[in-house]
Amino acid sequence: MILATMIAIPLAAQDGAPPAPYAYRQLDDPAQEAVAQELMETLRCLKCQSQSIADSDASMAGDMRHQVRIRIAAGDSPEEIRRWLMDRYGDYVSYEPVMSATTWPLFAIPALLVVIAGLLFWRRFRRRA
């Protein structure tokens, strides 16, 4: 818990402060870096327009990259980190589509589209089948 509060401090850092160490530095273990990269690409930069934290120069995105990398290095699973960030910043921070009370139409409508497309084809061609 103390550790969590300590590493949370950079998140509150003002613009202009030097970037956190792992904002622009990769993890030494390529496998861990790949996991971190994959996670970063699905986390939203909260200060940008439709960019993930992996594509942004905003200082907050840098701090979040730092968090993701040191937590991956410490052995946390990507889903634990995502959960931790979502608890702090809300579901908005994650691009990963999750079915929930607020997002179900995003999945229901494409499924409906498949059905409609199927029906269209069936109606159109059944007379000559």
């Binding site: 030097p18 970037p19 622009y24 530095r25 990769q26 990269q37 690409e41 699905t42 939203r44 327009q49 439709s50 960019q51 993930s52 992996a54 594509d55 942004s56 120069d57 809300g90 579901d91 908005y92 921070v93 994650s94 691009y95 990963e96 589509p97 607020t102 997002t103 139409p105 995003l106 409508i109 494409p110 589209l113 498949v114 497309a117 269209l120 084809f121 159109r124 061609f125 000559r128 089948a129």
Partner: protein, 651 residues
């Protein structure tokens, strides 16, 4: 004075749009031979000239940086290079809307001047619809976004322009998209004209097709250029973010692609009449929606210059009026239009129907993903919809469509069996399957890039199969257009899949003289030097880079600071080889005497944009082929008429 002339021309043009609308409507009621009906075409042509004068006036005040004009004072600066002063004329809300009406009025003038294939009643209805749409935009410009507004006190210096937009990309990107949007508005006017007079005929499809093709080519180029611009300007190597503004250009493209294929079926087979009309309405709706999303300020980004709710409501009102009106008309009239010729599932029309339905489904997914977060935000629930949603959900519809696209052009019109093409089908299937197995075993990549790479290879071969067994010199230009556009899709798909599967990233902190490695490239930081430009200062990193131990070359990416207004940008450097790009970005110093570098090696990433260019080239070839055929037909018709009069005189 020049600004006032521009404004006056705009008011006159609006008045002519009213005349055009009235003339068209009266012609529909009182017959096409009345005096008023004779005015419709000249009104459209004169209107085009007036709006061109107005746009010329705007360019002029930007060129001389007339700081008594509010728009210039807000968006320009005397220190800017001339090219960016000129492109700044449309790099803002008012100017871009004036550009829109300019293109629209010129297109209206063109159809009024040359289009004589359709029945005059349909043409009058088309021009009336065109005048009606234009009128809304004139009202918007004149009432809430006057580009020529003067300041009571001329400004001492302009406020400058967003440095991110001070780029040649800006000079080209919005106009190309606007040409596309406006082309679709012409297609829409034709669709309305045909609906009103119930003349949904192959001739109508042939009259509409060049406009769809032209719009589609411009949209393709606009999207390709916009994507490349984001790629090199934003400095992180991403080329598509599923940003609402990008989606705003993609949605009309998807609709136009479907419309294009549907209109082709109508033109050559007299089938899919209702589909074609509906897609015409949808395509224009998507351009209006795109304009609304980008221009209303509902999204906060460099694209949303106008953060002004009044304008937003105005565009929303126009959107509701045109789309609602068109859909209502469609609902009232569609029943009166018969379906047209019928065909079996295993035919080229059948494949094109699949293509249309799939494109419409992809369009619906993009629309949903774009609007849904805006909708929930209205209820204070913030949802993020991004690449992890769009990529897989879009792929569900894209890959089946691509498979049909590989096979469709091999089929005959009306009725065909798959038996006739067993060899070709087996070849495509074998390529796809061996690609899947080979790439999965060799690289163990994720499912989407794996499918993408294999499909791209199968599709690349399949796109040339329609030429098999034909004399290449006899193949019509428009068929070449199809082949090249389909091949372009394969090329772009290959680039995307390869970028996602094989990119390597390196973030390095180097001292001057230090070296690092990214993929096959070795990079040495020679020195970091300060540089100054006309309105910025920069840190420039001089590096030598060598591919696979080869000849080294020097690059100097910069981290720039603009001062009017203050903003930091990265000037990345791209080293292009045939098999990919090295992407180098200069970062800041890391407080220990070292400098941060961001480096990527992206194999075959350039194929994404080569593909886009090929697709556009295919569209141009198809357009040239169609227009040439039309000119030839006109020539033959004229000769025939001359012959006939000669014969009559002789007799």
């Amino acid at each position: 004075m020049i600004a006032e002339i521009g404004l006056a021309a705009l008011w006159l043009a609006a008045a002519l749009a009213v005349l055009q609308l009235l003339g068209g409507v009266l012609a529909l009621r009182g017959g096409t031979t009345s005096d008023i009906a004779a005015l419709t075409r000249p009104a459209a042509i004169l209107q085009g000239g007036l709006v061109a004068v107005s746009f010329g006036a705007l360019l002029y005040v930007f060129a001389i940086t007339d700081l008594s004009v509010k728009l210039v004072a807000m968006n320009s600066h005397t220190l800017k290079p001339l090219i960016f002063k000129l492109s700044g004329a449309w790099g803002n809300h008012e100017g871009s809307m004036l550009l829109w009406v300019t293109v629209m009025a010129l297109a209206g003038a063109l159809i009024a001047g040359i289009e004589r294939r359709l029945p005059e009643r349909t043409m009058q209805a088309t021009l009336a619809a065109q005048g009606f749409v234009a009128l809304g935009f004139y009202a918007f410009l004149l009432l809430s976004s006057n580009p020529f507004e003067r300041l009571a006190q001329p400004a001492v210096e302009g406020l400058g322009l967003n440095p991110l937009l001070q780029d040649i990309g800006l000079a080209l990107h919005p106009p190309t998209l606007y040409f596309g949007y406006v082309g679709l508005s012409v297609a829409f006017s034709f669709a309305v004209g045909a609906l009103v007079t119930k003349q949904v005929t192959p001739a109508f499809a042939r009259a509409m097709r060049p406009w769809i093709l032209g719009a589609w080519v411009f949209l393709t180029l606009g999207i390709t250029a916009g994507s490349y611009w984001a790629y090199y300007e934003l400095g992180w190597g991403g080329y598509w973010f599923w940003d609402p503004v990008e989606n705003a250009s993609l949605m009309p493209w998807l609709a136009a692609t479907a419309l294009l294929h549907s209109a082709s079926v109508l033109a050559s087979r007299d089938a899919l009449r209702v589909w074609t009309i509906m897609l015409g309405v949808v395509a224009f709706s998507m351009s209006m929606l795109g304009t609304f999303l980008v221009r209303s300020g509902i999204l906060t980004s460099v694209h949303a210059f106008a953060v002004d709710p009044e304008r937003g409501s105005f565009i929303l009102f126009l959107l509701a009026l045109y789309i609602g009106g068109a859909l209502l008309l469609f609902a009232l009239r569609a029943g009166a239009i018969s379906e047209g010729e019928r065909f079996s599932v295993a035919s080229r029309e059948g494949a094109l129907v699949v293509n249309n339905v799939m494109l419409s489904a992809i369009l619906a997914v993009v629309l949903l993903g774009t609007l849904y977060p805006l909708l929930t935000e209205a209820f204070d629930v913030r949802v993020s919809v991004g690449p992890p949603y769009f990529n897989p959900v879009g792929a569900v519809f894209t890959f089946p469509m691509l498979a049909v696209m590989a096979v469709g052009p091999l089929l005959r019109w009306r009725r065909d069996g798959f038996g006739r093409q067993t060899k070709e089908l087996a070849l495509i299937g074998a390529l796809l399957l061996s690609g899947l197995i080979l790439f999965a075993l060799l690289f163990g990549m994720a499912i989407l890039p794996l499918l993408g790479l294999s499909m791209a290879i199968a599709l690349a071969v399949a796109s040339f199969l329609p030429l098999k067994g034909r004399k290449l010199r006899r193949v019509p230009i428009e068929t070449w257009g199809m082949v090249i556009a389909h091949f372009g899709i394969a090329v772009a798909l290959f680039g995307m899949a390869s970028e996602s599967a094989f990119s390597t990233e390196k973030l390095a902190a180097l001292e001057e003289g230090g070296t690092t490695q990214v993929g096959p490239w070795s990079v040495q930081l020679q020195a970091v030097e300060p540089v100054a430009g006309p309105n910025w200062t920069a840190l420039s990193g001089r590096m030598t880079v060598a591919y696979d131990g080869g000849e080294p070359s020097e690059i100097t990416p910069q981290s720039r600071n603009f001062w009017a207004p203050p903003q930091q940008t990265t000037e990345s450097v791209l080293v292009t080889r045939w098999n990919g790009q090295l992407y180098a970005v200069m970062g800041g110093d890391s407080n220990d005497g070292r400098w941060q570098l961001r480096l990527w090696w992206k194999p075959f990433v350039t194929f994404i944009w080569y593909g886009g260019l090929l697709i556009a080239l295919g569209g141009v070839l198809a357009l040239v082929g169609r227009v040439r055929k039309d000119l030839k037909r006109r020539f033959v018709k004229r000769r025939g008429a001359e012959r006939r009069t000669e014969m009559e005189e002789l007799a």
